[in-house]
Amino acid sequence: MTAEPFAPHAPQPMPTITAATSGLTKVYGSGDTQVVALDQVSITFKEGEFTAIMGPSGCGKSTLMHCAAGLDSPTSGSVRIGTTELSTLNDRRLTQLRRDRIGFIFQAFNLLPTLTALENITLPLTIAGRRPDPQWLERVVAMVGLAGRLGHRPAQLSGGQQQRVAVARALAAQPAIIFGDEPTGNLDSRAGAEVLGFLRDSVRELGQTVVMVTHDPVAAGYADRVVFLSDGQLVDEMTRPTPDRVLDRMKSLDTRSRTS
């Protein structure tokens, strides 16, 4: 992260690369049942940028995110977070890297039911044995609007509130990059819009880097950049997207993948 987390987002002449893949290939199975999920994907995620990964079902967008986030290991190719090459790390190091430099937001929230909202938010820090920065925490909590519900257990919160806790959890450790896996997939449109708003705010106001997998053009409309994946390959990219433009692009992708 930067030394100035509170600095307002301003256009930078040479944005740093937060994460990058090059020649990333993931193959499942072998022989007749072999499926190529990712085929030579090279992509970079710049600091302070909100990227959405889109594509039809089975295009490999989730696999791309899992590999980029160090949850899954690629068959070949390289993944870097900052300057760290993930393939050189053992499980313990990789776990530490996820803990210290990556934040996650899952479709199913994945909060620990036995912990309160606040405890869930600080969990990655607690696991690392670090004390949360109180000012930062206050700011994050205020941003996602959970100040009154910190003592609640996940079961006492609505889906939208739970996902807001998850967003706060991802932000709390001030990671280099946050990965979201269909973060609005389990939410109604209003709650989804809230969560996406927070993610965008975190990029704009806090300078956070966010990568999100989604199949919802409306969600993609919140991003700075949308990349399109089809059959495991990067096929297109769009900056300053709007839902309509994304939808059009998706439609053409759908037709192409059907006719090909």
Binding site: S62, Q96, R98, D100, N110, T114, L115, I127, A155
Partner: protein, 854 residues
């Protein structure tokens, strides 16, 4: 439905294996015990019937009626009668015998197999027409031919390390004798083969020792083929002088012996049966838990079945069917394991002094039926509650999300029921603390109280889980977030945690209770044995039917270093239907050798017609010093009124009553005999050499024990050390089953939480952290069970121990800290070790589980 049940069993193999194991253990103990008991009884009975196989009728002398003339006391069983009986038509052979008992010293000078009374047989080797005694076939050497020779059976000779030609030291009642081993015989007498000894003398010597010269103690007749035993018996009885001898058939004797043997061996069943009961009781919690978890896990599946039209009855039925199949499998496995247990039990239960006869395993219908009833019955019974739960699953739950169904406990009802039971159990036990004795009624209420208390703890356990685990959480809190998560996970489903902990709770409670009572009793016995004894050495005969050689008395008193040697005659007295032990003492010397604590009166007034009573006896008969009591002493036939001159606090050295030695000895079974010598040394010194000198002074007689104070105390504690073995056995069973339960619950809980564990891995908890979390969860559950059990056990022991107050003057609650600590550590360590497999499985989960579908 059968197919569904079978499929479900196959789908949940691993989970059910634990259940099968638990039931199997219990069934194995039950079957093993029954097969063992049947086999042992069969071996005894077979041997017993062989013994009497060719004895048609036995003629024995009758006890002369009281007040009869002296000539009636001489036996009528002489050679003349033997010849007369031999001439009776139908009699094939006549074998007169002279039976008595003899205690032997082994080659190394220690008493040989003298531990059990009635098993040191002695008799005469009476050659028949062929010159041999067919009852005792000679294996080696020759039959005893004169008073300097004897024969032993092969088992005795082997155990005593004797060879032909060795000299054997023995005693029949008084003085020690030494004879040469002339021959080794074999015998089928079960009293000998089951761990006794057999000594054979020549006829004249045996008659001199056990009867009168020329007379026998019994005459066995064998019948010619085709002769009816009962007809022969009646014919023989007609020839015998009336009132002087009687005839019994061999069949009747065989029956009698078999009944006796049965009563003796029945005790062997008890201990393994206790283990079986404990194993099944604890195991049933494991079964309940497994099926409850399976039902919870399958709630959606069951709801789907309900939604597509299965009735409640069908759903419950399919669960019970599953239980039936599991129970059948467990019964079969348990039965086989039980056969193994039955095969090794004789070796385990045989200690140096007593050996059980070995025979083929007898598998009767009893153990087979028991295996089925116990295995299937317990499983079905335990699965009944979960099956009811399954029936309650609403069809709509099929539509709900995968979220865990919250435990819909009714804590208020539970609390009320639990507290009522707790108060009832505790109240029952506390009401006993005022009890004066361990009467049957009090013991029964104590058992009931303990049982109610255990049930109360089981009912309350889910409610106690939260506070107790919060408390232990203080300890696991030191492990940071991992400890915190472990604690919260244990608290997530208090009912499941409580059921898992219940097995450990019960075993810990049992063991703690037994350990505390055993320790307290042991210490009380120690104190009592030491407190009542003023003497430094006690020389005592092994039975009241034998005495100390009068000549030895003078030799002991004359041993250098001995200050006082007080003789005590032990006999019995019957008062108000109770048989008591009375010690005949000399009022002048008694205070030097016994520490008597008189609550009223004193020992110096004891004399003919004047006795002192122990506190318990005085209380039971409602007499006080100065009162009187009707007593029939020893062999005397008439009740006589005795003045009670004193009451002393219960004292194991003084027994139930004290009387003048001259009077007690006059009525004792061996008139004039002495059973104990209490020795006070110069300056109360004790030493190995002095003990050796005393042993020599009594001729190193195998009939006598020479013990110092410490040995006497150890002997009193013998009962208690047996209790300790039982205790550790139960702890082992309980802990093993408890561990199975923990493995089961954790495996299930890990399976339910894969997504959560995956998320933890994704956001940065490493494998070691996950493993530690699961292990701490196991430790938390184990600690909960152990703590609850410890509390219940100590309370129970405190309350039940109060019963001992009446019986044991010196009883007070003494906590065996070492043992208790050991119990806690063992439960915790095994509980935590049980988590190894689930912990490894959890740690192996990929962080991708967090994003997996479903």
């Amino acid at each position: 439905m059968l197919r569904t049940a079978l499929r479900n069993i196959l789908a949940h193999k691993a989970r059910l294996v634990m259940t099968v194991l638990a039931v199997c253990l219990g069934v194995a103990f039950v079957c093993g015990t029954l097969v063992f008991a049947d086999s042992t009884a069969a071996a005894h009975r077979a041997a017993a019937s062989k013994n009497f196989a060719d004895i048609a009728v036995t003629v024995t002398a009758k006890e002369p009626p009281p007040g009869s003339s002296p000539d009636q006391h001489t036996s009528v069983l002489d050679d003349a009668l033997v010849r007369k009986l031999a001439a009776v038509p139908g009699v094939a052979a006549v074998r007169p015998s002279v039976d008595g008992s003899a205690a032997l010293n082994a080659a190394d000078g220690t008493p040989l197999r003298t531990g059990k009374s009635g098993s040191n047989l002695a008799g005469a080797y009476v050659p028949d027409k062929d010159g041999a005694d067919s009852r005792y076939p000679l294996l080696k050497g020759h039959a005893p031919r004169n008073s300097g020779e004897l024969a032993l059976d092969s088992g005795t000779a082997e155990a005593g390390h004797f060879r032909i030609g060795d000299s054997v030291t023995l005693a029949t009642d008084g003085p020690v004798m030494t004879k040469r081993l002339a021959g080794i015989v074999s015998t089928k007498d079960t009293r000998v083969t089951a761990g006794g000894t057999l000594t054979l003398f020549d006829k004249a010597t045996a008659q001199k020792l056990f009867a009168t010269p020329g007379h026998y103690t019994a005459i066995d007749l064998s019948a010619a083929p085709g002769t009816d035993q009962f007809a022969l018996s009646r014919k023989v009885a007609g020839m015998l002088p009336a009132e002087r001898a009687e005839a019994t058939t061999g069949a009747a004797q065989a029956n009698q012996q078999a009944i006796l043997v049965d009563t003796l061996t029945r005790g062997y069943e008890k201990l393994p049966m206790v283990f079986a009961g404990v194993a099944l009781f604890i195991g049933s919690f494991l079964i309940i838990n497994t099926f409850t978890m399976l039902v919870a896990r399958r709630a959606r599946e069951i709801a789907l079945l309900r939604a597509i039209g299965a009735s409640r009855r069908q759903v419950a039925g399919s669960i019970l069917l599953e239980a039936l199949l599991v129970g059948l499998a467990a019964s079969a496995a348990g039965f086989l394991l039980g056969l193994g247990i039955a095969a090794v039990l004789p070796d385990i239960l045989s200690t140096g002094a007593t050996t059980l006869p070995h025979g083929p395993l007898v598998i009767g219908p009893r153990p087979v039926a028991a295996a089925l009833v116990v295995g299937v019955g317990v499983t079905l019974l335990a699965a009944w509650l979960p099956s009811r739960q399954a029936a309650k699953v609403a069809p709509v739950e099929a539509m709900r999300s995968a979220a865990q169904p919250p435990a819909t406990a009714r804590p208020r009802i539970r609390a009320v029921v639990g507290l009522v039971l707790l108060v009832a159990g505790a109240g029952l036990l506390i009401s006993l603390t005022g009890a004066k004795d361990a009467s049957e009624e009090n013991l029964r209420s104590a058992m009931l109280g303990c049982a109610v208390l255990v049930v109360a703890l089981i009912v309350l356990a889910p409610l106690l889980a939260a506070p107790v685990i919060r408390l232990t959480g203080r300890l696991t809190g030191g492990f940071g977030i991992v400890g915190r998560l472990a604690r919260e996970n244990a608290l997530r489903d208090p009912r499941r945690t409580a059921a898992t902990a219940a097995t450990l709770m019960i075993s810990t409670a049992l063991v703690t209770g037994l350990a505390v009572i055993g320790n307290s009793t042991g210490q009380a016995l120690d104190r009592q044995a030491a407190a009542g004894l003023g003497a430094d050495y006690v020389i005592s005969s092994r039975t009241t039917m034998t005495g100390i050689d009068p000549a030895a008395l003078g030799r002991v008193a004359g041993t250098s270093g001995v200050r006082t040697a007080a003789a005590v005659t032990d006999s019995t007295m019957v008062a108000g239907g109770h048989v008591r032990t009375i010690s005949g003492i000399d009022p002048d010397s008694v205070n030097a050798v016994m520490k008597l604590d008189f609550t009223s009166g004193s020992a110096k007034d004891i004399g003919p017609g004047r006795i002192a009573l122990s506190g318990t006896v005085a209380r039971e008969h409602g007499v006080r010093a100065g009162g009187s009591i009707d007593v029939r002493m020893g062999r005397s036939q008439d009740l006589k009124k005795y003045t009670v001159v004193g009451v002393y606090k219960d004292n194991p050295v003084a027994h139930d009553a004290l009387g003048a030695r001259s009077e007690v000895a006059q009525h004792s079974y061996l008139p004039g005999s002495v059973q104990r010598l209490l020795v006070r040394t110069e300056g109360d010194a004790t030493s190995k050499t002095l003990q050796e000198q005393l042993r020599t002074a009594v001729g190193n007689s195998p009939l006598l024990k020479v013990q110092d104070r410490g040995e006497l105390v150890d002997e009193a504690a013998g009962v208690v050390s047996g209790l300790l073995d039982v205790m550790y056995g139960m702890l082992a069973i309980g802990v093993v089953i408890g561990a199975l339960g923990i493995v089961n619950t954790l495996a299930m809980s890990v399976a339910e939480r894969t997504r959560e564990i995956g998320a933890l891995r994704a956001i940065g908890m490493d494998r070691a952290g996950i493993r530690r979390m699961i292990r701490l969860e196991a430790a938390t559950v184990a600690a909960f069970g152990t703590l609850l059990g410890l509390a219940g056990g100590v309370f129970g022991a405190w309350a039940v121990g109060a019963l001992a107050n009446g019986a044991l003057e010196q009883y007070s609650l003494v906590l065996p800290w070492g043992t208790l600590l050991l119990v806690c550590l063992l439960s915790l360590v095994i509980g935590t070790a049980a988590a190894a497999v689930p912990a490894r499985r959890a740690a192996a989960l990929s962080p991708l589980e967090a994003v997996a579908e479903g």
